[in-house]
Symmetry: C2
Subunit: 333 residues, 2 copies
C-alpha cells in the first residue's frame, strides 16, 4: 500500500484535525470526539442538519458541513459508522431548540447507531427525525427502496436540507424537503479498480485488467454485472439506460440536477467526457439539466470509476438547489 | 490502461465540451477551438486574465476560468502546449481594450507558443504582458528561477491576478500583483506512483513498490531524490524543510497562503493528514497560515502524491486572496 499516512489506526483522527485546521474560521471539532460543527451560525435560528457516516469517502460526509449544507457531522472510522455517543454529541451540538434532521446513508451499522442516538436525544427532549438516503438502484429493486444503499445522492439531500434550513424553513419543511430530495434521486456507478483501506493495506477485491463492474457499492459491495471495459460513451449509455428504467418515470419536459461523481482515482477529464455524453442522452429525451456537478464528492479511497446521480426537480427543489452553499467539499454561489 | 475515455485522440475536445456543458450559464467555448471564455463579464471594464497550458492537470488550467479567476483559457492536448492560434484567440476573446495578462507555467513549449501569440496580438495593437510561473524548487536553484518549472503555484497566481482584475485594478497593477504572487510562491512535491497518458496507454515511469520520489515534475520530469516511502508526517517534514531552506526567507510573524495539492489518486484523507503536520511545523516557526487550500488543483492524471505551495503574503496579497472566486475548479466566498 502506498499512502501518505502515519499510524493506520490514527488516520481518522488526524484527517479530521487537518480539515478543521484548514477551515478553522468556520468549523470547530469537539474535544476528544470526531464531531465537526459550524461556528458561523446561530443554531437557535434554524433547524439543525446533522450528517454522518464512515470516513474514506471524502469529501463526503466530513466536507459537507457549512453554510447551506450540514450543521454538524458525526465522523466514523474508515467505512465504519460513527458510534452512538459521537452521533448523540453531533445532534446536541446542532440543536438550538428547533430540532434536528439526521441524514445518513442506508447501511445497517449506521442505522443501529443513529437510531440509538436519536432515541437518547429524544429522551432528553430534543426533536429528532431521520432521513436515510437510499439511491443506489443496483442494490435492490424499486419496490424495496429501503433496502437500497445510500451513495452519491447524499450530496443532493444534504444540499437541499441545508438550503431549506438556512432559509429558516420550519422543521417539518426541512424534513419534507430532504425526504423529497431523497425520493426524487437515483444513482448508479461503475468501478474500474479496487480501493485499499489503510488498516488492511491491500486491495479489498480484484478486478481483471480489461474488466469493469457495474453497480458495485462504495465499500466494494457486489455489483450487478461484470463486463469488459467500456468506453466513456458506452458507460454513460449503460448507466443512463438503467437509471431511466428505474421507477422515477422521467418524461420530456422534466428537469433534473445531474451529478457525475468520481470514486477517487478517476480524472476530471474522464468525468467531463462522461458528462458530455449524458447531456446528449438527456437532451435526446427532452429532459433538461438544470444543475450539474462534476467532480469527486463521494469517493471510495483511490477506487477508479464513477457514479451518476440524477435528482428530479420541481419548483421548490430548484429554488433550494440555487441557494448558496459553502463547505470544504462543495461550494456553490 | 483503465480509463473512461472514447477515442484517445479526442480526449481533449470531449473533456472541454463536457466542462462547458456543466457550466454553460457562465462559460462558452469558441467554435472549433479549445478556448473557453467567461460569458458573465463585460471585458471592456477589466484587464483580461488569460491562462493556459496542456491538459491532463485538471482542474488546472481549464477549471480556473470564472469570476475572480481567469477570463479565458487556451487549452492544449495532454501535457502539450496549446498552439499559437489557440493562445491568440484566447487573448483576443478576453481583450476588451484594456490589455491582457498572460499566465502560464514555465515550460519550453508553452513559452514558444505563448510568446508567438503575444507578438501576433501586439502587432494587432493589443497590450499583452506575460507572467510565467516558476515555483518548483526541485527543478533549479534559487538563482536560476526562470529555469524552474511552473506547478501548483499557478493556482495562487491566477487567483491573485483574477481578483485584482475583478476589482478593476489597472493593467499595471494586475500585472504587478500577479508577478508578486509568483515571486512570493514556492512549491515542492512528492510522487508515489506514475500516471498514464490516454494516448500512450501505459505508465510513463516505474516506481518501486516501497519507494517515493521527491521533486518529480507533474509530467514525470526527474525528481531530486528517490527515497523509501515516508509517513505523512515525515513527508511533510521533508517538504517543509526544503521549502524553508529556499530563498523566500520566511520569518516568525510572516503569514502565508498554504496549498496542499493532490496529484490525482491521493485521497483527501491523506492530504488532510499532511496539512495537519504542516500546521504544526509552521506554528513552531511562528509563521501564520492565513489561507489554506487542500484538494486536487494541479494534478497529473491518476498519479499518487502531493505538492505543497506556500505564498508569502503582504497586506495587498491578503486583500486579493480574500476576494471571492467562482470557477469550476476553485470557488471561494
Amino acid at each position: 500500500m502506498k499512502k501518505l499516512i502515519n499510524d493506520p489506526l490514527l488516520v481518522t483522527d488526524e484527517l479530521v484535525e487537518g480539515l478543521v485546521l484548514a477551515h478553522r474560521k468556520k468549523l470547530r471539532k469537539l474535544d476528544d470526539m470526531n464531531v465537526v460543527v459550524r461556528t458561523d451560525v446561530d443554531f437557535s435560528r434554524k433547524t439543525g442538519v446533522v450528517i454522518g457516516g464512515g470516513s474514506g469517502h471524502e469529501p463526503l460526509f466530513l466536507g459537507f458541513v457549512g453554510r447551506g449544507m450540514g450543521d454538524s457531522i458525526a465522523h466514523g472510522d474508515i467505512f465504519t459508522s460513527p458510534s452512538v455517543d459521537v452521533v448523540y454529541e453531533a445532534i446536541k451540538a446542532a440543536d438550538g431548540g428547533n430540532g434536528v434532521v439526521l441524514i445518513y446513508g442506508n447501511y445497517m451499522g449506521d442505522i443501529l447507531n443513529f437510531d440509538m442516538a436519536q432515541e437518547l436525544a429524544r429522551a432528553e427532549g430534543m426533536r429528532v427525525e431521520t432521513v436515510r438516503v437510499w439511491d443506489d438502484i443496483a442494490s435492490a429493486p424499486p419496490e424495496k427502496k429501503d433496502e437500497r444503499r445510500g451513495t452519491s445522492a447524499d450530496v443532493f439531500v444534504i444540499k437541499i436540507a441545508g438550503a431549506a434550513s438556512e432559509l429558516g424553513m420550519s422543521f417539518d419543511n426541512v424534513l419534507r424537503a430532504a425526504e423529497k430530495a431523497r425520493d426524487q434521486s437515483r444513482s448508479l456507478g461503475v468501478s474500474l479498480s479496487s480501493c485499499t483501506l489503510p488498516a488492511v493495506g491491500k486491495p479489498i477485491f480484484e478486478l481483471e485488467k480489461d474488466m469493469m463492474m457495474i453497480g458495485m457499492g462504495v465499500h466494494g459491495e457486489p455489483g450487478i454485472e461484470k463486463t469488459k471495459l467500456l468506453s466513456a460513451d458506452e458507460t454513460a449509455d449503460v448507466i443512463f439506460s438503467r437509471l431511466l428504467d428505474d421507477d422515477l418515470a422521467l418524461q420530456a419536459g422534466d428537469e433534473i440536477a445531474l451529478l457525475v461523481n468520481g470514486y477517487g482515482a478517476t480524472t476530471m477529464m474522464e468525468l467531463y467526457i462522461v458528462n458530455r455524453r449524458l447531456h446528449q442522452l438527456f437532451e435526446e429525451r427532452g429532459i433538461g439539466i438544470y444543475g450539474n456537478l462534476v467532480g469527486n464528492y463521494c469517493t471510495s479511497q483511490e477506487m477508479a470509476g464513477c457514479s451518476v446521480t440524477m435528482m428530479k426537480l420541481d419548483d421548490e427543489l430548484k429554488m433550494l438547489y440555487d441557494q448558496p452553499a459553502e463547505s470544504p467539499g462543495l461550494t456553490l454561489f
